[in-house]
């Protein structure tokens, strides 16, 4: 208990006040990603799915941005765009002020040294036919030119130790490890290239509750010791609250709200954020039943089946505060007092539904 408290203190030391925000390490400007709809033979072509629409955010060096939102909101797509795993149709991605959205060849390889990933599913993210020593060592060979052998084994053992694993796992297959151990391996692999940004796409949601807190503590500790910057995607708002300096909320491809974590939790500016907060179950039967009743009233009063126009606010068919203007024009991104921004017509008028 005490050890972990100390860990969080280290973590808290890193959170800068708004007046002294460090320069952004990652910034994304007007990111747009589309997936072509499947072209069936003899069918007229259909418009592409807009997975990500004009998304902009930035993460100060050494901080964590929590990215939350429902499934299909485009969180993973944003992550994959930053990782250069998917083509982008518009916008730019800057790392340390440098535009990386169109790198290729040697420059892309160099970029891959700076940005690594930890995926949600530790069962499919590690090659099932490679031993752990190879999984972690491979990137050392690729990026640091250390051939397989005793020297590389030492480096691998060092990395494994940093994530709390003994060197005995080096000749195990992923199949022989537990989910939490695998996720530690995935983190060690990411650390192997000494990256500066780690994209964590729901790194704990496949893990057990007691293991989740171990991984979160590990990530916080690594951030404190190596000054890592995190983009932390999660479903779990309580988790997001713990780990993030800033929070960004996505809905159907749009970034609908962002801002300092405490502000977003205390004064959510977007109706969707409010709904998210209301829907997160708390481990307390009496309170949770109350919250559930309130939640049901809100979500039952809305009908997600109504089709929405392309120009409309994406939340219009579920929003309890919907107005005529919402169905006609997409709300612009506006500043919120207390930090951050929101896309909502009602925000200016100060309406809330609670």
């Amino acid at each position: 208990m005490n050890a972990s408290t100390a860990m969080w203190d280290k973590f808290a030391n890193l959170s800068y006040g708004y007046s002294m925000t460090p320069p952004p390490f990652l910034s994304v400007r007007d990111l747009r990603v589309e997936f072509a709809a499947r072209q069936l033979l003899f069918h007229r072509s259909r418009p592409p799915t807009r997975a990500v629409n004009n998304v902009s955010f930035s993460i100060p060096t050494g901080q964590t941005l929590g990215l939350v939102g429902e499934s299909g909101a485009g969180k993973s797509t944003v992550a994959r765009a930053i990782l250069r795993l998917t083509q982008i149709q518009g916008g730019q991605i800057f790392i340390d002020g440098r535009n990386v959205s169109s790198l290729s060849g040697a420059q892309l390889t160099e970029y891959r040294r700076q940005v690594q990933v930890v995926f949600q599913d530790p069962y499919s993210s590690l090659n099932p036919s490679h031993v752990i020593g190879e999984i972690v060592g491979e990137l050392i060979t690729r990026h640091r030119g250390v051939r397989p052998g005793a020297a590389r084994d030492e480096m691998v053992a060092g990395l494994l130790q940093r994530v709390g694993l003994g060197r005995f796992v080096m000749d195990r297959l992923p199949d022989e490890l537990s989910g939490g151990q695998r996720q530690r391996v995935a983190i060690a692999r990411a650390l192997a290239v000494e990256p500066r940004l780690i994209v964590c796409d729901e790194p704990t949601s496949a893990l057990d509750v007691s293991i989740q807190s171990q991984i979160i503590n590990l990530l916080a500790d690594l951030q404190a010791s190596a000054g890592l910057t995190y983009l932390f995607i999660t479903h779990n708002l309580a988790m997001a609250r713990h780990i993030s300096h800033n929070l960004a909320v996505m809905y159907l491809g749009y970034l609908v709200e962002s801002g300092p974590t405490e502000r977003v939790f205390a004064h959510p500016a977007h109706p969707y954020t409010e709904m998210l907060l209301a829907s997160s179950p708390v481990p307390d039967p009496a309170r949770q039943r109350e919250r559930a009743a309130a939640r049901s009233r809100i979500s039952r009063s809305t009908n997600p089946e109504i089709a929405i126009a392309v120009t409309s606010c994406p939340f219009a068919n579920r929003c309890p505060l919907v107005m005529d203007v919402c169905r006609k024009t997409m709300p612009a991104q506006t500043e919120v007092s207390g930090g951050g921004s929101v896309r909502c017509h009602a925000h200016a008028t100060g309406l809330t539904f609670t």
């Binding site: 990933v117 069962y123 007691s210 039967p285 979500s299």
Partner: protein, 644 residues
């Protein structure tokens, strides 16, 4: 893989061995093939006569002591010819298959991985060649290159390489979607390293199985070509050549065709059996597990829908819908030991009631659910205990009856719908196929019903989604499709194995409301497996906490939350981050992990991680004891004053 499909601690090798041992026929076939190759190598030393030495005084004789299989029209010993023929036929087959693999696999890997124009060009060429029978392709090449045996087998190898291209490409396409491939790309590895080093080892088992099958095909073509007089020359006795010679003496001496014909037939059969056996035994664990899950899922698929009230008469509210007593599940472990992964689990579930089953992965929650349905994955089995559904004992029911029951009375939602959806079929097909098969709906009705179901689980834009494939869905959407399939059945007992853990909270809330509504309407009992204590708090009437194969605490939800009576429950509740717990930012942890089943202690299973452990805890198995109003706990210190 879910903890259900694979008990931890049963090693991968043990499983492969177990599966291989199940393949008796394949083993026999492998032995026979080995024998053929041994004969091929040592042939010249064991053959009683030379292949060409004939004795014109004894032509076309039947089997005798001197000539076990008789002689041919030139008085040559048939057994010796078959032995020499083995050498030739086996070598030729090996040559052709190797050529097919060397040509086909790399092309398939690249086409599948790189995709785009390269893939289209390759597939166009392959389809063209594939449309022709391999023997025609081979004949074409032979016409150009001549008819020595080597060119013939190269031609056959080329013709067969298209099969490897197709197979390799198909598997590469699937494998490319795996996260470890993305991981390799983010790692900056080049294309060739990714396909050869990462993808190939994972598809190799299937390729090996395929190669064994192709051997049979190649052998047949060699025989056919030799029969037609192409390939093996007159002086080289191959099996096909021998068979071809016997043709001329069909009337005078029909026996001549039997030895060579049998040699060909047996070899082809052996290769086919081996290929099938390897396919089953070597199939990568996850692949096998996926297939199993899918089948299980199919078993529980809807048999009826809509009113559901007629079948409901069986279950009356407040009747015990499901009663599990002393359930035990075991798996074979290393050194012929048995590993118990569910130990003495007892649960009662009344109609209209929701029981939460919580615990870490590997604690046996999912296996308990599967055992309840009679779906313990092989090689595990229910070693003890009873499961009663509406008063009817299930553990002794034959499989066929269980299957019917599963469709009608019980249904299960698995935690990972991605693995239960077929990547190559559209959502529409996967939703409507069972509806049509079980409910006899026509395709228009089935489509309408499918749309209703998708609307029920709030899948955005259901019309369009129907035509999409699983890989186009995000994780949460796939789970909703899986949920739609299970809810269509409106069962009397619904086992939900973490059905909402992949969903975002707003939709999770809606799904929970939906489950509550359905329960109110039909009075079904829900066994809700989860590790989210927030959901337990909201949804469940009672809760059972599992740890390392045992139920450690059970009781009414409010009581357990307010005053946990087991150290594990207490520690777990303390690790939960709260939405509103401001101030401290500490995340307390329970040290260590759930140990694998073979390491479970004889005494209390929580002993190694427990903060309250005393020596007495590790001596004997700890029984589940009653501690007050509808509460039971499994702890030797449960009765101590001041501790709780």
């Amino acid at each position: 893989m879910t903890d259900a499909a694979k008990p931890r601690g049963v090693s991968g090798q043990a499983r492969v061995w177990w599966r291989l041992r199940q393949q008796r026929l394949a083993l026999i076939a492998a032995g026979y093939i080995l024998l053929l190759y041994v004969v091929a190598i040592i042939g010249p030393w064991i053959a009683p006569y030379g292949p060409m030495t004939g004795d014109l005084r004894s032509t076309l004789q039947g089997p005798s002591i001197a000539h076990w299989l008789g002689t041919d029209h030139l008085g040559r010993d048939i057994l010796s010819q078959i032995i020499y023929g083995t050498r030739l036929s086996m070598w030729a087959a090996l040559e052709a298959v190797l050529i097919a693999i060397i040509l086909g696999v790399p092309i398939g890997l690249l086409a599948g991985y790189v995709g785009g124009k390269l893939d289209r060009a390759v597939m166009w060429a392959v389809d063209l060649i594939f449309a022709l029978p391999p023997i025609m392709v081979a004949l074409g090449i032979i016409a150009v290159l001549g008819t020595t045996l080597d060119t013939v087998m190269a031609a056959v190898g080329f013709a067969f390489s298209t099969r490897f291209v197709r197979l390799t490409r198909g598997m590469t396409l699937t494998e490319r979607e795996e996260l470890y491939v993305d991981g390799a790309r983010v790692g900056g590895l080049d294309v060739w390293t990714i396909v050869s080093h990462h993808i190939l080892p994972n598809i190799a088992p299937a390729l090996i199985a395929q190669a064994a099958l192709q051997f049979g095909g190649v052998l047949l073509i060699e025989a056919t070509l030799s029969f037609l007089g192409i390939g093996a020359s007159l002086e080289q006795p191959s099996w096909g050549r021998l068979l071809s010679q016997s043709r001329d003496y069909m009337d005078a001496y029909p026996f001549l065709a039997i030895p060579s014909g049998a040699a060909i037939m047996l070899a082809v059969l052996a290769f086919n059996l081996l290929g099938d056996g390897l396919h089953t035994a070597l199939g990568r664990d996850t692949i096998v597990a996926k297939r199993k899950t899918k089948r299980r899922k199919g078993d529980t698929e809807t048999q009826r829908h809509g009113d559901g009230s007629n079948a409901r008469s069986l279950i009356k509210t407040n009747m015990t819908a499901l009663a599990i007593q002393g359930l035990q599940v075991r798996f074979p472990g290393a050194q012929n030991r048995e590993i118990e992964i569910v130990c003495d689990v007892s649960l009662d579930l009344k109609s209209g009631e929701t029981l939460g089953l919580v615990g870490e992965s590997g604690s046996g929650k999912s296996m308990t659910a599967l055992a309840t349905l009679g779906l313990v994955p092989a090689p595990g089995w229910i070693s003890n205990g009873s499961v009663q559904l509406g008063g009817r004992e299930l553990t002794t029911l034959p499989d066929s009856e269980l299957r019917r029951l599963r469709g009608k009375e019980m249904s299960i939602v698995f935690q990972d719908s991605f693995t239960s959806l077929n990547p190559s079929l559209t959502i529409e097909t996967q939703l409507t196929d069972p509806l049509r098969a079980h409910l006899g709906l026509n395709s228009r009705q089935a489509r309408e019903r499918a749309l209703e179901l998708l609307a029920l689980v709030q899948l955005p834009d259901p019309q369009r989604r129907l035509n999409e494939y699983p890989h186009q869905l995000s994780g949460g959407m796939a789970q909703r499709v899986g949920l739609a399939r299970a809810l269509a059945c409106q069962p009397s007992v619904l086992i939900a194995d973490e059905p909402t853990s992949a969903l975002d909270v707003t939709v999770q809330g809606q799904i929970l409301d939906l489950l509550k509504d359905a329960q109110r309407k039909f009075g079904m009992a829900i066994l809700f497996i989860t590790h989210d204590w927030g959901i337990v708090a909201e949804l469940c009437d009672r809760v059972a906490v599992m740890y390392a194969g045992e139920i450690v605490e059970t009781g009414k939800v409010d009581g357990v939350f307010a005053h946990p009576r087991h150290p594990y429950t207490r520690a777990l509740l303390a690790t939960l981050p709260g939405l509103d717990r401001t101030g401290t930012r500490s995340v307390p942890v329970i040290p260590g992990v759930v140990p694998p089943p073979q390491d479970w202690h004889k005494g209390c299973h929580f002993y190694p991680r427990c903060a309250l452990a005393i020596p007495a805890c590790n001596r004997n198995p700890v029984p589940l004891t009653s501690v007050g109003d509808d509460r039971q706990t499994r702890c030797v210190r449960a009765g101590e004053e001041g501790l709780w």
